[in-house]
């Protein structure tokens, strides 16, 4: 059963990665990053069960904490960019390029 869970986690991670590469709306890109973090959490929980110790679950818990903090700051940045540029597309935020 462990293999099944790990393959599911890998699939979700790959789908999230494709989303980050393909999508242009910054918020959707962010959601795809969240999907990748969730996939990692699934792998952590699966390994915790495989090895019979709770460290994996603990790390998944800390990943959730960090992800929550990351979402707060990231969305604040997106809102700030949207205020000045009137756009949430990652292609429009190119000021650092020049």
């Amino acid at each position: 059963m462990t293999t099944h869970y790990l393959v599911l986690s890998a699939l979700l991670f790959a789908i999230g990665a494709v989303g980050v590469l393909v999508r242009r709306n910054a918020i959707v890109v962010f959601m795809c990053v969240e999907l990748m973090l969730n996939a990692c959490n699934l792998a952590f929980v699966t390994f915790a069960r495989q090895h019979g110790n709770l460290d994996g679950q603990l790390i998944a818990f800390f990943v959730m904490v960090v992800a929550a903090a990351e979402v707060v700051v990231g969305l604040a940045i997106i809102v700030t960019i949207f205020r000045t540029r009137r756009s949430a597309s990652v292609d429009d935020a190119n000021l650092l390029k020049y």
């Binding site: 869970y5 393959v7 991670f13 590469l21 818990f61 800390f62 604040a76 949430a88």
Partner: protein, 265 residues
Amino acid sequence: MGETITFWVLAVVSVSAALGLVFSRKAVYCALMLGVVMLSLAVLYAVQDAPFLAAVQIIVYTGAVMMLFLFVLMMVGVDSSDSLVETIRGQRFWAMIAGIGFAVLLALAVGQAAIGDPAGVTGANQRAGGNVPALAELIFTRHVFAFEVASALLITAALGAMVLAHRERTRPRPTQKDLAKARFVSGYPGPLPGPGTYARNNAIDMPARLPDGSVSELSVNRVIARHDVEDGRLPDDPELAEAIRQAAAEEEEHNASIAGPKEDR
């Protein structure tokens, strides 16, 4: 047996929801799909003897994080769907190839490993008297430093979000006197017309008719009018359609005056 059935059902649901997240064009659908993935992952945690994580997943992710996403989506504009023009040629194609290759690589790596039967965390749970006490014991003894650092991180993130979202007032706050003056200068001092006696419908995006039967474009919300024009949802009545178009044009003008001249690219 029960676990196998749960796993296969939730695996199909979560993978198709993840694909929906990547491929649906409207951002709100993406958020809903992400919610489905998170809920099914919560059930998978519960199945794998992690009831605390399942609860935290639902409370933190589907509760807090998804709500934050939806709030920001509503602020930024629900209609901000992706453009389909590629800025880098062949980006989509190569991203797909890379994604499929990555998935196959990971799946093969997992499949190659010889993984025995899972040990199960029931033993570890029972030693401390349940999943939550066991996790608490770990957090407050061996990982207490990481726990403290996490609290510092959360405070920093909250402060950072406040600093980023804060906006200095560039002009003084208008007093009641200023507002009253502005209203009389605008040439329409009274309240905006409601649906009116001659309204033929009570839809919020339909302009009202004034007592003389003429159409009032003042009564329709400019933002809603812009959405109507962009989505091509105009009424058959040419008078009403013209009023909506006029309100939408005003909204465009208003937006342009806020955003300032945008450079050509």
